[in-house]
Amino acid sequence: MGFAENIKETIKIQIQKNLNRDYIEKILGIVGSWPVLPVYGMTFASKSDKYLNIATIKVIKKAYCKKYPVAYGSIFLPYELLHSLDLVPFLPEVMAGFTAGIGIADKTLKEASARWYTPDLCTFHRSASGAVELNLFPLPQFLICSSLACDAAQKTFYIDAKKYNIEDNFYLIDVPYKKTTDSIKYLASQLEDISASISKKMGKKVDIGKFKNTIRLSNEFRYWAAKVNDIRKELLIYPKNFNGLSFILPFHALAGTKDAVVIYKNIYFELKDFLEIQKGSSGNKKSGSNIKIKQDIGKTKRILWLHLKPYYKNNIFEILESNNYRVVFEEISQVYWPELDEEKPFESLALKMLSHPLNGSVENRMAAILEMVRNYRIDGVILFSHWGCRHSNGSARIIKDTLKNNNVSTLILDGDCLNKNNSSEGQILTRLQGFMEIINSKQS
């Protein structure tokens, strides 16, 4: 195991043994401090990984350190708004993913079960709720969620607010079903009201200058993210362990910060290097030991990944890659919103939310999927059917049938992103192999 891996394992085990908020704060205090954090960053061969990890630890440490006001946020919020209010974002759903990575999901899920959270609920929300009940998460001043993309967060966030005794600081952003001039106005007015309400409670005024700056930074991050997505239309060789599904936190929660710009700029230049190597035009001496160039890159099958992935240790992507299949894009990585207008920040952010393919009818998602299939020359689509995710899995039939009509095969892969016990490794392997056999036989 590499040095970084060793540290990670040690931290994991220590957290498992000392499962409480203060201990987590302590660990973050150490790992997130200077010079530990930059040294830790240097252990990553991949720049993308490095900046992702540094930024992640930074923002989580900020949430735990008790020096800044914290807001729990559901995943598809316009975080630019929170940053303009100097709120530190904390995303329970994303943190739930970490509980699986750290190996404490069993405990959090067990706690949720003891507190009567239905076992049929998606484990992202269940694990987050269990973590809240176990007092593992930092204390928030505000909880903000939206009806995009699913019902669960709206309920669990309210329960959390009640537990923390801050029901009055619970905000739900009601995202309309359709994107129209009226619905943009309705949503923008909600965002404006929430902004005013939170500012008042924080005892300060809405800082328009700061807000504009956040919008500018968000646009800059968007620019680089779009460039990354462009490169990936061609790219088939990646840094070791690169997975587009690992960048959810910066992509959403850090929109509007410098960190997001730094991350995506670095990803772009790193992937650009790899693309040059792939094209064989590189005299770049940095093409070192962790770059494996596939002899038969021309025959690599291109996969589009829908929804999320298991966050505990698994071998799904290894299996794909060892069979010369590459996940070239994920729906979660789409830059789905137009550039924001700093003169109309609330309307722009409202438009951002309403532009999300998961909002409203499945037609929106389907259109986005078909566009990605075209742009990334997709051979096959994998929809990870996470247990309990009804908004996504409910669309499986339509997605599969529509793709079939467009001559693309779809694999609906049943599993659980957080709960290893609810997922069968053997079954997953069989399905992946079967899927690959189908695609291989199609092409030949």
Partner: protein
């Protein structure tokens, strides 16, 4: 006076004849006789048979019994019973015969399991039942014992033999059986498998207990209470001593006999 309680379960039927003080019916009675028979295909017939056998054992006639209460899954179809009361209330009352002030009852039967919270005077205040899923019931252990070709009675001594276990990840009894067969095929030590299985059933029960809240003293009833391995593992996971009646299978019928007035 004599009263009778009949517990008609889906696997077995128990009948208890109790001798009571006429003046003070709530005082502790004396168990005159009890029987445990398989229910078979007809709960009605099983109830009658159990009652008749209990009377025979007690050397008394059916008319000597002044009141009969039926409980359990088949309690509704017993025409000769004076009343039917659920096994929740009956188990709660039954444990009072052995232990005063019990606060939690864990009953693991052949095909169901339940946790009952009491107020300390034998009155139930809350309960949780699992009768949808075999995992967490005696059936789970039976299936596994068959797959391992080891008698259930030996589980206790085997459990004590080793500290190591292999985790059974399947939550469903059917898939757990396949998992066990595959583990045997891989040559894994059967003792470790048995330990893993015992913890499997215990974890299911513990999660029910947690939802209701554990309060001592705790009493365990039902046929599985005779399985030393399960008792030990349950005590370990809950961190409490389990009080077990002499004949844990008849607790429901006993309680029913007490509730017969």
């Amino acid at each position: 006076m004599y009263t009778c309680g009949i517990d008609v379960g889906s696997v077995s039927t128990e009948a208890v004849i109790l001798s009571r003080d006429n003046e003070n019916p709530d005082a502790k009675g004396r168990i005159v006789s009890y029987v445990i028979i398989p229910t078979g295909a007809s709960s009605k017939d099983a109830a009658l048979k159990a009652f008749e056998e209990a009377c025979l054992k007690a050397s008394m006639s059916k008319e000597d019994v002044s009141s009969i209460v039926a409980t359990g899954y088949g309690r509704i179809n017993i025409p000769f019973a004076n009343k039917n009361i659920t096994e929740i209330s009956c188990h709660a009352r039954g444990v009072l015969n052995y232990f005063t002030a019990v606060k939690t009852v864990i009953d693991i039967g052949g095909q169901d399991s339940k946790v009952i919270k009491l107020d300390g005077s034998g009155n139930p205040v809350d309960f949780l039942m699992n009768d949808k899923c075999a995992a967490g019931t005696g059936r789970f252990l039976e299936v596994m014992a068959r797959a391992l070709e080891i008698k259930l009675e030996h589980f206790g001594e085997i459990f004590a033999k080793t500290n190591e276990k292999v985790d059974i990840s399947s939550t469903c009894t059917v898939f757990a059986e396949s998992e066990v067969v595959s583990l045997i095929g891989q040559g894994i030590d059967k003792n470790k498998i048995i330990r893993g299985l015992v913890y499997s059933i215990v974890n299911k029960v513990v999660s029910m207990v947690e939802r209701i809240g554990l309060e001592e003293p705790v009493c365990m009833t039902g046929g599985v209470a005779k399985n030393l391995a399960v008792v030990k593992a349950l005590e370990e996971k809950l961190g409490v001593k389990l009080n077990i009646p002499e004949e844990p299978e008849i607790t429901g019928a006993l309680g029913a006999a007490y509730l017969a007035k």
